[in-house]
């Protein structure tokens, strides 16, 4: 094996990776924030609605979950503008896709979470005279969040990894940065030797931090 490791070219371009990591994290944060709104909203709608509406929610969930993210990314970026008069850049388009994608997974998580709140707890809220809205905000929602926090953390880390797909739209996130350095310097092993730990440390670091947070909430 006559391959000599040379990290010099990687360090020279490390900014591409640093900014890439930051953008990956930003994309994941925005996607989960929008995803939570979609997921919680649809979970509540599902719970309150008649069968046709439920079927629509299920259709959205099942469609997104059973189609590759890459295809959804292409469909939104290249497909939609050909049928609707709309223009957006890669970042916006990818964010829209990833949020819809996150939403579909989060609907299921929220539905399970809402179902896990014991009936007696909401009754207890009613018994002390809370209005339905107050009961929802002060009893059901906090209880549910405590139940689903671990799933929420896992979803966030998995969205963070999914941001790598944005590289196909030339969104300069971490994987795009790696590919750029790869094609411009051909230091393949070195670039992945740097990028892999970046994903691992960021991913497991965030997961560890979120687990600590979960424990705090679990105690209180």
């Amino acid at each position: 094996m006559l391959y000599h490791l040379n990290f010099g070219l990687i360090w020279k371009n490390i900014g591409k990776l640093e900014w890439g990591l930051l953008l990956s994290l930003e994309l994941a944060v925005v996607a989960i924030a929008i995803g939570v709104v979609i997921g919680l909203g649809l979970a509540l709608i599902y719970e309150q609605s008649s069968r046709p509406v439920r079927a629509l929610v299920s259709l959205y969930v099942e469609f997104i979950r059973n189609v590759p993210l890459l295809l959804l990314v292409y469909l939104v970026f290249y497909g939609i503008p050909t049928v609707v008069d709309i223009r957006y850049d890669g970042v916006t388009s990818f964010l829209a896709t990833l949020s819809l994608y996150a939403g579909a997974y989060l609907v299921e998580i929220f539905r399970a979470g809402l179902a896990a709140v014991p009936r007696g707890l909401t009754d207890a809220g009613r018994a002390i005279g809370l209005t339905p809205l107050q009961g929802f905000i002060h009893v059901r929602l906090p209880t549910m969040f405590r139940v689903i926090l671990p799933s929420l953390s896992n979803t966030f880390v998995s969205l963070f990894k999914d941001t790598s797909v944005a590289s196909v739209l030339a969104v300069p996130e971490l994987t795009y940065g790696a590919q750029w350095i790869n094609f411009n310097t051909f230091r393949i092993v070195e670039v992945y030797a740097v990028v892999t730990p970046m994903y691992l440390i960021a991913g497991y670091g965030i997961l560890g931090a979120l687990r600590l947070l979960e424990r705090r909430f679990a105690v209180s």
Binding site: L75, T175, I188, Y192
Partner: protein
Amino acid sequence: MFWSVIESLPFVWRGLLVTLGAAALTVSMSLVAGLLLGTIVTYAPWPARIPVRLFSDLIRGIPILVLIFFVYYGLPVTGLNLNNFAAGVLAITLFSTAQVVEITRGSLQSLHHGQMEAAKAIGLNFPQRLTYVIFPQAVRRFLPPWINSVTDAVKGTALLSLVGIVDLMLAIQQVIGRTYAPMPLYVLGALIYFVINYSLSSLSRRLEARYAYIKE
């Protein structure tokens, strides 16, 4: 435009076959490797467990796309020349294996330790305990998440298009390049993936019902 889409169908069909082939290879290899490593990580002494644990956490910690690029661009540097199909399938198999390891561990650990003891007490040796007592019970917990991982593998194969394998995804991209009809073709592609994966998840629900007779 309509006709050009119809004309492209045989090409899309060939892409679909590539997708299914890649998925079948990935799923079968990762099933064997994952069951083996998952059993090791559950029952073996710690010196054998640690490398498997590291493998699984490492693979699950990086994006599958990065794994594909790394194997595809990185392996030639080590002197190992795989064509893009082999490299891509290898990468997704590694990813899928790590998932099967965790599913196997989870379903084995969900069994009460008394089952292992009762099997020991009548004198069964370790392979017999696994074959006749542990695996038949674990299969019920194993199947639903495993079928989920199969749909992940099928979806994962779409990323093979990025290393130039003409699978369903790339076939659709190429047809779009010729016909300039992105929307119908993306929708067609999405429907095909949907049908495959949705059938798999329905199968999972039916299998779950079939094993419901095992109550602890």
